[in-house]
Amino acid sequence: MRVYILYGFGTLLCVAGVGFLAAEYIKYLSEFGKLACLALTTAMFAFLGKYFDERGW
């Protein structure tokens, strides 16, 4: 159980860190770059969802 709590805590930190960096660097991107990043983020989460779905989660 403690391991899962640590996993959750680590995942939360990773997401927060990536979110902070994205918020800092997004202002240097062009409008097309922002759109491409949005589309790729959506695709990335879709692929991750599909991956976990296939593993039976």
Partner: protein, 208 residues
């Protein structure tokens, strides 16, 4: 060694909306169970690449102010700060002291960039003087440097007494970009009273 034998008839044929790409993707996914994880990682890598490449590409400007012997460099990312965008970059100078401006525009694109750079002085929402105007043509991955100096005659009348200070705005524009520099200036005269010679105090004669 595992040999996968699969025919296209086994792959997702119950759904009539299956396109050829979906069939191929499913086929590859059945052969490689980590395919979607790799695709997610590839998306993440491309996002990082866009952040690096797109963040570097573009047209950037750098301003260097020289007041007395000090140089203040305003880097391109400093203009992106919210408070600098809204209020401008603040600095101060003594009245009459020349202020050197060195303005660099970097063209980090694959095309030639041409624009007109204009520097003006504003006070109270009214244009006081035009400092500089120049048309520049910057080749791909090159930069242009413009220099001009602000002197007291560009400000107009100071009208300041000792201890007071005034403000004006220097606006630098090119294309649809505008940079604001708020310049506070103070008079040359010192803010403390001048020395007055102390009158001689009569020394009382010693009593006997």
């Amino acid at each position: 060694m595992v040999v996968y034998t699969i025919s296209l008839t086994e792959v997702n044929t119950d759904q009539p909306s299956s396109c050829l790409v979906c069939v191929i993707m499913t086929y590859i996914a059945m052969k490689n169970r980590n395919l979607y994880l790799y695709l997610a990682l590839a998306c993440f890598a491309v996002i990082l690449a866009i952040f690096v490449v797109d963040g570097y590409m573009g047209v950037y400007d750098k301003l260097t102010l020289t007041i007395q012997e000090r140089e203040q460099v305003i880097e391109p990312d400093h203009w992106q700060q919210r408070w600098v965008k809204e209020s401008g970059f603040g600095t101060s100078a003594r009245w009459g002291e020349p202020i050197g401006f060195k303005y660099q525009i970097q063209n980090r694109t694959f095309f030639t960039y041409s624009t007109a750079v204009e520097a003006t002085i504003w006070r109270g929402g009214e244009k006081v003087a035009q400092l500089h105007r120049e048309d520049v043509i910057i080749p791909s991955f090159d930069e242009a440097t413009l220099n001009w100096t602000v002197t007291a005659k560009d400000f107009g009348e100071a009208g300041l007494k000792a201890g007071e200070y005034g403000e004006l705005t220097v606006r630098v524009t090119f294309g649809d970009v505008e940079r604001k520099i708020i310049l506070s200036y103070y008079p040359e005269t010192p803010g403390y009273p001048e020395k007055v010679p102390i009158p001689p105090i009569p020394v009382p004669a010693p009593t006997r």
